[in-house]
């Protein structure tokens, strides 16, 4: 993810600057909410995740190290973990995802987002489905094979091929 002045906003956050929290929220809440909504498909639950993620970011901002990744990656890691937790708890209760919530469409936000979208569109539908089941569904290779009714070896090859293509398209690779 590209370099930006945003880490300095996180430094302000770490110093307890509530105005910075507002700015930080305005910058990234759409991304976090889109991510949570993509996983949970439930507006109310997704917004609970948004609240949890930003409060956690507020509490843990002093531990953020830009060399480990961008603020987007940091927030999305938190959002994904929390949303998948909720998804698994829901699955344990055998609840289905509500039908009414819209799933965000793939639309670019900037050049980098456009590149990711283009890379994903370069995959076959089967490849994209397998990667999405792993990333947004939190499923393992065996669970994906079972969900799609296909041999485990086929799924492993499909995901590997898809990831190699994404890596080639998005680089850097080393």
């Amino acid at each position: 993810m590209s370099e930006s002045p945003r880490p300095s906003l996180l430094q302000k956050l770490a110093q307890g600057d509530k105005t910075a929290l507002g700015e930080f929220y305005d910058l990234y809440s759409g991304l976090v909410n889109g991510m949570a909504l993509r996983i949970l498909r439930d507006v109310s639950e997704a917004e609970d995740v948004v609240q949890e993620v930003f409060l956690q970011a507020w509490r843990q901002a002093e531990r953020y190290d830009p060399s480990r990744g961008s603020p987007e990656a940091w927030l999305c890691t938190m959002a994904r973990t929390r949303a998948l937790d909720r998804l698994r708890r829901r699955a344990a209760r055998r609840e289905d995802a509500p039908d009414a919530a819209p799933v965000p469409r793939l639309l670019p936000r900037n050049e980098e987002a456009l590149a990711v979208r283009k890379a994903l569109e370069g995959l076959s539908a089967d490849q994209r489905r397998a990667v999405e089941l792993a990333y947004y569904g939190g499923l393992t290779q065996s669970e994906i094979a079972e969900a799609l009714g296909e041999p485990l070896g086929t799924i492993k090859t499909r995901i590997r091929t898809a990831m190699m293509r994404l890596r080639e398209a998005l680089g850097p690779t080393t």
Binding site: T77, I144, R167, E168, T174
Partner: protein, 255 residues
């Protein structure tokens, strides 16, 4: 189950980056990872790809109320209403019971919150740790190598400004190759290093260059008593070949 080959482990790296490994694959990968710097590098490269995936999603603005909840922080507790004196004892029992239940629930929620935060932190730290170990390993090895009086180096040259330098120490058999100006290998291809020490060229690993056309490659220990005559780099299939078949893109001898 027998140990997986390097190729099989590399094939698991993209699945590991997605968190999709399970069963014996997951166990084998976890066992091999700490001792294999190239595998760690491969995993990091795929983890970077995974980090980019959510950028393709359309941002969806949350409701304004969510912003207000975030900015106001944790919701303050309502102050308890004073109970009439006559019902004090009964109320006290009820409050104590309710208080205990609330306290337990609060403690459970706090514990779950801590666990979640610890898990997320662990993911970041593990990734960071792998990156730092790789950098430390390279830095300390190169630092050690270049201070050795027995250090030797060979300049490699190629077309269109590509160049390289092999650093090696015959006494310790350590060797590194630094490369610049080599374009990224086409899909399914990789650069392969060759050490020429008299007989047929010996393969010394494959590598990819970054966006700047650069690479720093730690080579396998040189053969004992080998008197290196030359280093070369050719473009080969992704997993390398036992003898060079593709075009030589860099070469240099020790004379």
């Amino acid at each position: 189950m027998s140990a997986l080959t390097e190729k099989e482990l590399f094939e698991l790296a993209p699945l590991a980056a997605l968190g999709a490994l399970d069963g014996e694959d997951q166990a084998a990968f976890a066992r091999a990872l700490p001792s294999q710097p190239r595998l760690q590098q491969e995993l990091l490269a795929f983890e970077r790809v995974v980090e980019l995936l959510p950028l393709a999603l359309q941002p969806v603005a949350p409701k304004l109320a969510t912003r207000e909840r975030v900015l106001s922080g944790p919701v303050p507790r309502a102050a308890p209403r004073p109970a009439p004196l006559v019902t004090w004892l009964a109320a006290a029992v009820a409050v104590l019971s309710l208080g205990s239940a609330l306290l337990l629930r609060e403690q459970r929620d706090a514990a779950q919150e801590l666990l979640r935060a610890a898990n997320e932190q662990a993911v970041w730290l593990a990734k960071d740790n792998r990156r730092l170990l790789l950098e430390l390993d390279r830095a300390s090895s190169i630092g050690h190598l270049i201070t050795q009086p027995t250090l030797r180096w060979v300049s490699l040259a190629g077309q269109k400004g590509a160049s390289g330098r092999a650093l090696y120490d015959p006494s310790t058999r350590e060797a590194y190759l630094l490369v610049a100006g080599l374009p990224k290998a086409p899909a399914g291809k990789a650069y392969e290093v060759w050490v020429i020490a008299g007989g047929a060229p010996t393969p010394a690993g494959t590598f990819q260059t970054d966006d700047m056309g650069q690479a720093l490659v730690r080579l396998p220990a040189l053969a004992p008593a080998a008197r290196v005559k030359a280093f070369a780099v050719s473009l080969e299939d992704e997993w390398g070949v036992p003898a060079p078949t593709g075009p030589i893109v860099l070469s240099g001898d020790t004379n």
